[in-house]
Amino acid sequence: MQIIEDGNTAAALGVRLCRPQVIAAYPITPQTPLTEKLSEYVEEGSLAAEYIPVESEHSALAVCIAASSAGSRVFTATSANGLLYMHEQIQWAAGARLPIVMCVVNRAVGAPWNIWNDQQDSISQRDTGWIQIYCADHQQIIDTVIKAYWLAEKVSIPIMVCYDGYILSHTFMPFDLPQQKKVDAFLPPFKPDYALNPDEPANLNTVTLPDVRVDVHGELAHGYMEIRYLLQKDTRLALQEAAQAEKRFAEVFGRGGDPYIEPYLCDDAEYIAVGLGSITYQLRVCVDELRREGIKVGVMGVRYYRPFPDKVIAGALKGKKAVIVFEKAISYGYEGALASDLKSALYEYLAGTGSLPVIQNYIAGIGGREIRTDNLTKALKAATKGRVAQEPVWIGLKL
C-alpha cells in the first residue's frame, strides 16, 4: 500500500512491523517525532512493546543493552549530541555483540548549538564496531529498518540506520508500506543463542584479561584481543550476509538492488559523484543536467559505510577520470572520512594499474546550510574540468 508520510513515520512504521519487544529512547530534534509515534503505537496497543522512558540517551542505550542481553528485540533512536552522549554505551553494545537497531536521524553536533542536518554525528561513530547504513529516501528508510533487524540478528552486530534530519525526517513523500505478513515471513522472531535468565545468574563482559585463560568450566576462554578480532572479522563477513538480506528481501517484497552501493548512470561515466544519504539523490538531478551538456557523469550512493564495501566500490570506480566525493562531515585536521576511505579502497585495488581516478573532496550542507541544486551542479561540473583543490572545498561557504 502506498502512503505519503514523513521520514520519521516511515522509520516508526518499519520498527512496528519488526515487532520489537523493548523500546527505550530520549527525544531529541529531529528524531523526536519518531519516538513519539512509537510511544503512541504502544499506548494505542498497535505495538506490543515495553516502552521505557529514560532520562538520557546514555540510559536509553543501556536499557537496550540489558533488554537485548535478556533476549528481547530492541529499538532506540537519536540524533547529534544524543548520539554523542551514548558513545560509551555504543562501544559497549558492539563489544557485547548485541543485535540492536538504532535510527540515527542525522544532525549537526554542538558547539555551536545547531539542530539542522549534517552527518558529523554518525560519521564520528564510525569506529565503534556498529554497522552503518545510509538512506536516501523513505522507501529505503522503512525497508532498511526491516533488513537491519534480520542482518543484526544474523551476525550479532548492532546497526545504525542513518537518514538525514529534516531533509528526510520531516519531508513527506510516497512510499510502499510493507504488509505485516510479509515482514513476518522475512523476519523470524529473535531467538538468541544465549540470553540472560534470572534462574541462572551470570556475569557478562566482566574484566577480560589481555591473554586467554581457562574459565570456570575448564574451557579456554577468549582474551579481550580475540573477542575484538572476532568483531572485526564478523563485521567484514557481514558484507556477505548483507547481500543475503538484500536477496531475501527482494524475494519477499519484489524490490531491491545492489546491497552496498546505488549507482546512477555510472556505466559509461567518466566522472562519478559519491556520497551518503539524500544528497546522492539530489546529485542525480545535477547529473541529468550535466548529461544534457554532454558531460559523462554519474553518481554512486554508498549505502553501507561500515562494513565498507571497498572491493565493490573500487570495481565501480575503476578507470574513471575523477571521483568527486560530497560529504556532510569532516575528519577535522584532514578531509572527509568517506574521501579517505575511498582513496584507501582505490589504492588497495587499483594502485599500479594506471587507472587510479583523481579524487576531489567537497564538504556541503554543514549545520543545515542549504545545498542549492544549481550550486551542487556547478561544483560537480568544475571537478570534471580538473582538480579543484587538494584540500576539501566547502560548497556555499560565505567567508
Binding site: T29, H170, T171, R372
Partner: protein, 186 residues
C-alpha cells in the same frame, strides 16, 4: 504553467495548518497521476503564530531533488497580514499564481506579472461551521479554483480522510464554498 512539474509554496503561521493543507493536496495529486510528490515544511523554526512556509512539489515522475523551492509556480497565502511580514512573491515565476486568504476585495490588490486569486477563507470557514481561524480546508478550494490542478472530487476525498475524526463535513463545505467564491483575475 507546465503541468508536469508544479512547485507550490505555502505561507502560513505556525499552528494554522499549512502543512496539513499541503499534505492533503499532495495525497490528491498522488492519486491523480502524479507519482512524484514531495512536501517539505520549514525546518526548525515552527512556532505558533510565526510565519512558516511549506514546499510542495508535484511531478509526473519520482522527485529526487528535496531542496527548497526557489521558483514556485504558485504561492498560497493563508493569512493576508503575511504580505507585510514575508516576501511571499520571492522567486514566483512570471505569470505565477497567488492564492490569498483575505477579507479585502480582489480589486484592493495589484500584483503585476502575477495572477491573483482571493477569497475570504476565514469568514467562509466560520460560515461552514468551523472555529474561527481554521482555514486549511477552505484554502484548498481556493487553490483548486485558481489553478485547476487536480479535481475537487479528489481533494474532497483527501479532506474527508484527513479530517475523518474532526468535522469532515464542515471542512468539505468550507472547501466547496471557497471554491465557489474565489475571485480570480489576470
Amino acid at each position: 504553467m507546465n503541468k508536469d512539474y508544479i512547485e507550490i509554496r505555502w505561507h502560513g503561521r505556525g499552528g494554522q495548518g499549512a502543512i496539513t493543507a499541503a499534505k492533503i493536496v499532495a495525497g490528491a495529486a498522488f492519486v491523480s497521476g502524479y507519482p512524484g510528490v514531495v512536501m517539505a515544511p520549514t525546518f526548525g523554526t515552527e512556532r505558533r503564530g510565526a510565519p512558516v512556509t511549506t514546499s510542495l512539489k508535484i511531478a509526473r515522475s519520482k522527485i529526487y531533488d528535496l531542496s527548497p523551492i526557489e521558483t514556485p509556480d504558485i504561492v498560497v497565502i493563508l493569512d493576508y497580514l503575511l504580505l507585510n511580514e514575508a516576501q511571499v512573491t520571492t522567486g514566483l515565476k512570471p505569470g505565477g499564481i497567488i492564492v490569498l486568504n483575505t477579507p479585502m476585495a480582489f480589486e484592493f490588490y495589484n500584483f503585476k506579472d502575477y495572477k491573483l486569486a482571493t477569497a475570504d477563507v476565514t469568514a467562509i470557514s466560520v460560515e461552514a461551521g468551523l472555529p474561527h481561524g481554521m482555514v486549511n480546508s477552505g484554502i484548498i478550494g481556493a487553490l483548486e479554483k485558481a489553478a485547476n490542478l487536480l479535481s475537487m472530487e479528489s481533494l474532497i476525498k483527501g479532506i474527508k480522510e484527513e479530517f475523518r475524526t474532526r468535522e469532515p463535513q464542515k471542512n468539505v463545505l468550507a472547501a466547496q464554498l471557497a471554491f465557489e467564491r474565489t475571485v480570480t483575475g489576470g
